[in-house]
Each structure stands twice: as structure tokens, then as C-alpha cells.
């Protein structure tokens, strides 16, 4: 009985903490605009739409990786997928969840687009350094 209670509470708390943690990671990028280059490369609309997430991630994988970003990208991808599961399950019962998941997934897209912008700038710097050497 005690274990069932602990399991139920843990899952509820886990969802709350995980969502809040991912949102705290995303919050850092919200004020940062998507660079002109990224908009040109991806043809992204403003504000970023969730449908563009997969394409931006694909482009992200083409750029040289910055080690410090590896963890956060994986986490945000997991969050994006989790929101997709929410939409296909919970949102059928509670329609307001649909709007919320769409907005959250849009913010995930904005986050990866900002990271893509940083990676493009990083690659440019790397290339410029190599040329000067």
C-alpha cells in the first residue's frame, strides 16, 4: 500500500519537476531572437512552429557539435517527444492541453533554432581561425 502511494506521488512529482526543469532550460533562449541566418536556412516563420522542430534538429546535426550543448539538446528532444505523447493521449480528454502542448513544442523549436544559430556562428569562427592560421 505504502509502495503504491509512493509510486503514484513520485510519478506526479516527476512530471512536474521534469517539465519545469525543461522550461527553465528553454527560458534562457526565449528572449534571444532567431538569427537572420537561421531564418534564411530553415525558412522558419515567427514565432517558431512545432512542425519545424525535426528539420531544425536535422540541420543542427550537420553543424559541428559544441560539447556543452549535447546534454540540453537531448533533454529538450525528450521533452518534445513527451509533449507529443501528451497530445495524443491526455489532449483527447482535456482539449485545453492541445493548445498548451503546441505552444510548448513551438518554444522547443525556438530553443533548437537559437542553438543552431550559435552553432553556425561557432563554425564560422572555427573556419575563420583555420583560414588565418
Amino acid at each position: 500500500m505504502m509502495a503504491v502511494f509512493i509510486l503514484t506521488c513520485s510519478i506526479i512529482f516527476l512530471l512536474q519537476f521534469f517539465i519545469s526543469y525543461c522550461r527553465s532550460l528553454i527560458a534562457s533562449s526565449v528572449r534571444e531572437p532567431i538569427s537572420q541566418e537561421v531564418q534564411e536556412v530553415t525558412g522558419m516563420s515567427r514565432p517558431a512552429a512545432e512542425e519545424e522542430f525535426a528539420r531544425v534538429v536535422q540541420l543542427l546535426q550537420l553543424c559541428p557539435e559544441r560539447p556543452e550543448e549535447r546534454g540540453e539538446i537531448s533533454l529538450i528532444r525528450a521533452y518534445f517527444r513527451m509533449l507529443g505523447v501528451f497530445r495524443s493521449t491526455v489532449a483527447r480528454v482535456v482539449p485545453s492541453v492541445e493548445r498548451w502542448t503546441s505552444s510548448e513544442r513551438g518554444q522547443c523549436t525556438h530553443f533548437v533554432a537559437v542553438v543552431l544559430g550559435r552553432r553556425i556562428a561557432f563554425s564560422r569562427n572555427l573556419f575563420a581561425q583555420q583560414m588565418s592560421n
Partner: protein
Amino acid sequence: MIVCAVKKQAIRPYIFLNIYMAASLFVSIGRYNILQHFGLASNEYVYFYYYSDTLLTILLYFALTSLYSRVFSEMHAEQYVKLGAVLLLGGTALFSYGVVHQAESKLVTHFVLELQQNLYFVGLVLTYLLWAAVLKLRETRTRLIQLVLSLGVYFSLLAANYALRNLYPGLSTLLQILPPLVGCFLPAAWVYAFWRIPEEARLVPARVAVLR
């Protein structure tokens, strides 16, 4: 994580978090030595694993208390926080002992498992209360918010894991993989908080909360 904290001058403000990380490093070395000498299935390894895990959980408990002290620092309530933490820790140990008292065979090992499950759960509830306090007091320090949230994710995953193991002992072998995986999350999240987020960074906690 300790290296990051030293580089970012965050050793003293977050001393208990650093002590916990140092202790978990020494415990990992100890576990590896015992594993080499006695093997995975030995009693020595099992005892060392569970007892060191309990000790680490108690240390993490003090790390959580230190985060409470930081959140409540302006209210000068550190004394009450410390007293409350010690009382809760003692209470959890007594409760766990009471639960396993009837099953006297394998009392010690059963006690350790029960104590761990309860400690993780109490840690989870305390982290949740701390998160509620962060929201209520409108604490805006991004680093502190991320430390609290990552601790919440860690405690809830482990509490769920031990509860599942208690409910379905047959799944124990499968669920044993989870703690080492979850164990990687906490240092990674703390490294991120110390390395990437400056102490001056601010965030409105209500913007990241699921329930307000």
C-alpha cells in the same frame, strides 16, 4: 562538478552539494574496489552498495537542507530548517525500522531497502515543499531554481524505482539499471547549473512552473 564549482567560485555557497559530490566519487571508487575483489554477486558488495547508498542519500538530504537555508536566508530561519531536517531524518529511520520490525529474518538488509525508499520519498516531498517555497517567495536565482528542480527529478525517479522494486521484486534485476543512469543526471545537471548559469542570472519561477 567540483572543478566547475571551484572555477566559478561556488564552493562555499554550495558547500554541502560539493561534499555530496566528493563523497559519491569516493563511494564509487570504493564500490569498484570491492567489485574487483569480491565480485558482483558477493554479500560484501551488496552490503557495501546499499549502506553507502543510504549514507549518500543522508548527505544529499543535508545538501537539500542547505538549499532550504539559502531560500529562507532572508527570513533568518536557518536554525529551524536544521532542526526540522534532523527530526525528519530521525523520524524516517524510526518509521522504516518499525515497518520491517515484524520481518526479523534479513532484518538489516530489508531495513536498508525500506529506509532508502522512505528517505528518497521524504527527500522528494521536501524538494517539492522547497519548490513551493521558491514559487511563493518569488525566488529568482536561476542557478538555485535549476539545482532544486534537478534534485526533484532525481529524487522522484529514485523513489519511483525503489517503490517499483518493492511492488514487483521480480523486476529487481531490470530496475537495478536505473539508479546508475539516474545517478548520471544529477552531476550533469549540477555541472550545467554551475558552468553555464552565472550566479547573477535571474528567472521568474512562475514562468516555468506547471502548477501555480
